[in-house]
């Protein structure tokens, strides 16, 4: 029987529809659920009040990440150090109690497997191709790098998934972002996704699931694909996808929660069917020429405020839309920038290397490659590296990366979300700038009054060395990662 060509998104969607209501809303099965301490306490509390249980506890994995300080967690004698902030401590304690009380596997803050949920899921093989993955965190889009339909949800939906292992959803539209050609030397996955967001806008992907297509993505490692899909939400798309392939399977094989033996073979056979069919129709298509992508940096307070490092701070007059002109002026005021200033003349005082976007081993290697034999500039007061998980941290230490960072004047921290959103003590001071490998340059995101410039790990390292935003390609490191 001939079937209509389908997109990857349609294939995953179709495989998870339990039933469709008369009004078109679908009841969709959720294969994997990640839980952290910030968006779950109210959900567990509501379950308790309603006398509800968790339908499939083995399909949820809990790990603390947002609130944890990134300073040492154990005293020299091995005892667990207390969390100073009483509110953070209470929230972390709630997860530690709720997870076992509802039968959910919990990775404690002191375990080597602890880390940012979006680093831990793929690393443990909990996140798998073709699955539906949700988490009370918008950067769940990240797991699309493995070919999973992964998206962020609110706390009411966390409760819904815990109680029923399903969600009530409307099918999204599909968008193809096709990138032709290859990235130039020194241009990374982070630069590419920032460039894409700059092209389609912070709301350009609203209502869509994006599939990233083209040989450039096929050549990327899983770490790079996770970086790309992670920031889909910054273009407004709830989810981003890259079709799974041999790179994906090689990454997952042997991971603790990945299928094994005959299950592995059956899984791979299924995963090989997960790609958009020839002739599948997308609701929207965007084409990007990879050769036009330069190392990217943000100048404003929306992730769409992207410019090539060789560019200048724009003027409100550069924009046709009146509301955008108003927004640009507000952004420039907040960022303390003057139109026309070359981006490479913007000094920075802080550097943050971390977050679910850029805290995996390849990210740390890319930054260390730039920092090796160099030291941060004197005007850079605070530079920290926060590995995405304890396992990333251990691997980096095995490779000697930690010593490169500390020799360069960076602090080498424990894993967590850290200065990406400043819920823990890691914050950028008011009025100061930060070259950050995170995902959001919103007003106050890294701390009240903090001024964020989003960059790749290599560009963050270049900024640390020069004390201003800088083109890493001019520092004599040629990498294409």
């Amino acid at each position: 029987m001939a079937t209509k060509p389908r997109t990857l998104y349609e294939k995953i969607w179709d495989a998870h529809v339990v039933e469709t209501r008369d009004d078109g809303t679908a009841l969709v099965y959720i294969d994997r659920h990640l839980v952290h301490e910030v968006t779950s306490p109210q959900a567990f509390e509501a379950l308790r009040i309603a006398g509800r249980t968790v339908r499939r506890p083995e399909l949820t994995l809990a790990v603390p990440d947002h609130n944890l300080p990134t300073t040492p967690r154990l005293a020299p004698d091995g005892t667990v150090l207390p969390i100073a902030d009483p509110e953070s401590a209470a929230q972390l304690a709630a997860l530690e109690l709720n997870a076992p009380a509802f039968g959910i596997r919990y990775i404690p803050a002191t375990a080597k497997e602890q880390g940012i949920v979006h680093v831990v899921g793929p690393e443990q093989g909990f996140s798998l191709p073709g699955t539906t993955i949700v988490c009370g965190d918008s950067h769940t889009a990240c797991h699309g790098g493995l070919g999973a339909l992964a998206f962020g949800i609110g706390t009411s939906e966390v409760e819904h998934v815990l109680a029923t292992q399903t969600l009530l959803l409307q099918q999204s539209k599909s968008m193809e972002v096709r990138v032709n050609g290859d990235l130039g030397p020194g241009v990374t996955a982070k630069d590419l996704i920032m460039h894409i967001i700059g092209q389609i806008g912070a709301a350009g992907g609203s209502g869509y699931v994006i599939e990233y297509r083209g040989a450039v993505f096929e050549r990327m490692s899983i770490e790079q694909r996770l970086t790309v899909c992670n920031m889909s939400i910054e273009a407004g798309a709830r989810a981003g996808l890259i079709a799974p392939d041999d790179v994906t399977f090689a990454y997952l094989k042997g991971r603790p929660m990945a299928p094994a033996g005959a299950d592995w073979d059956a899984a791979v056979a299924y995963w090989r069917t997960l790609h958009s069919d020839d002739g599948a129709l997308f609701d929207k298509s965007v084409v990007i020429d990879a050769a036009t992508v330069e190392p990217s940096v943000t100048w404003g307070t929306s992730p769409e405020d992207v410019v090539a490092i060789g560019g200048r701070v724009p003027s409100p007059d550069d924009f046709a839309d009146e509301s955008k002109r108003v927004a640009v002026q507000k952004s420039l005021d907040y960022m303390g920038l003057t139109p026309g200033t070359p981006m490479t003349e913007v000094p920075i005082e802080n550097v943050f290397i971390g977050s679910c976007t850029n805290s995996r081993i390849e990210d740390l290697r890319a930054a260390a490659a730039v920092l090796k034999g160099r030291r941060k500039a004197d005007n850079v007061r605070w530079a920290i590296v926060v590995p995405g998980s304890g396992l990333v941290k251990a691997q980096a230490e095995d490779e000697g990366l930690d010593r490169i960072f500390t020799a360069a004047g960076f602090e080498w921290r424990e894993p967590g979300c850290s200065a990406c959103l400043g819920m823990n003590p890691d914050k950028v001071p008011p009025g100061e700038r930060c070259a950050s490998t995170s995902n959001r340059n919103f007003v106050g995101r890294q701390g009240p009054g903090a001024r964020t410039h989003l960059v790749s790990p290599a560009m963050a390292a270049a900024a640390a060395v020069t004390g201003r935003l800088a083109d890493v390609r001019l520092l004599g490191v040629k990498r294409n990662t």
Binding site: V18, E19, D23, T25, L27, Y29, D31, V38, Q42, E45, R56, E58, L59, T60, L61, S88, A90, A94, I104, R105, F126, L128, T131, G136, D137, S138, G152, I153, G154, T155, S156, H160, A163, T164, Q165, T166, L168, Q170, A202, A203, S206, G207, G236, R238, M257, A258, D263, W264, A266, S323, A327, L421, G422, M423, R440, F442, V443, G444, R445, P448
Partner: protein, 199 residues
């Protein structure tokens, strides 16, 4: 959840585009384990500026907020909806909303109304004149004392949930047999999918 059918009252003319959920409720307020009391942290950065529109006495108690494109973008934090609810907001009108925020809003009895930019501009004008705006979910219209009348649509399921104050989880739990059948088929065909952490 309280049913929502019709809201009439003043509107806060915020007007900004790309209002992210960090603006609606900054991260430091997310350390709570409760849904209550978040109104005091709502729009904290904007409200630090004297003469800001949120605290303007002219709009005190207004149940409607009018904003620009892409309202509620960014973080999935439902605290944003809780904070707006705590401020007494029952309707947000904007040219577009982030997907996650609009879902969170509806689950907390807040109606996201999508209207064309021209209609939003007109409503901002009416709001600044201190005139009331009426939002009717039954008829899916927004009207003003000046005979303006703008039609909007909301996904039928969400509309039904809001109009009747439905508990989505209870609705889904009533479909237990269908979910069980789906899981049974899964366990036979792709058992590895059902193992999760229990491998």
């Amino acid at each position: 959840m309280q049913p929502l059918t019709r809201v009439e009252g003043g509107a806060i003319p915020l007007g900004l585009k790309n209002v992210d959920t960090d603006i609606i409720i900054p991260a430091r307020w997310l350390k709570t384990i409760s849904r209550d009391g978040l109104g005091q942290g709502a729009f904290e950065t904007l409200r630090a500026v004297p003469g800001n529109v949120i605290d303007d006495p002219a709009y005190a108690g207004a149940p409607i907020l009018i904003a620009g494109d892409n309202f509620g973008c960014g973080s999935s934090r439902e605290h944003a909806a809780w904070a707006l609810g705590d401020l007494g907001i029952k309707v947000v009108i904007a040219p577009s909303f982030s997907d996650i925020f609009s879902g969170n809003a509806v689950k907390n009895g807040i109606l996201p109304v999508v209207l064309a930019q021209s209609a939003v501009d007109r409503l901002l004008e009416v709001a600044r004149q201190g005139e009331p705006i009426t939002v009717d979910l039954e008829t899916q219209t927004v009207t003003t004392p000046y005979q303006d009348r703008f039609a909007f649509t909301l996904d039928p399921f969400r509309r039904d949930c809001l109009l009747n104050g439905l508990d989505e989880i209870a609705l889904t739990m009533a479909r237990d047999t269908a979910i069980g059948a789906f899981e049974g088929a899964r366990a036979n065909g792709q058992p590895w999918l059902m193992r999760g952490t229990a491998i």
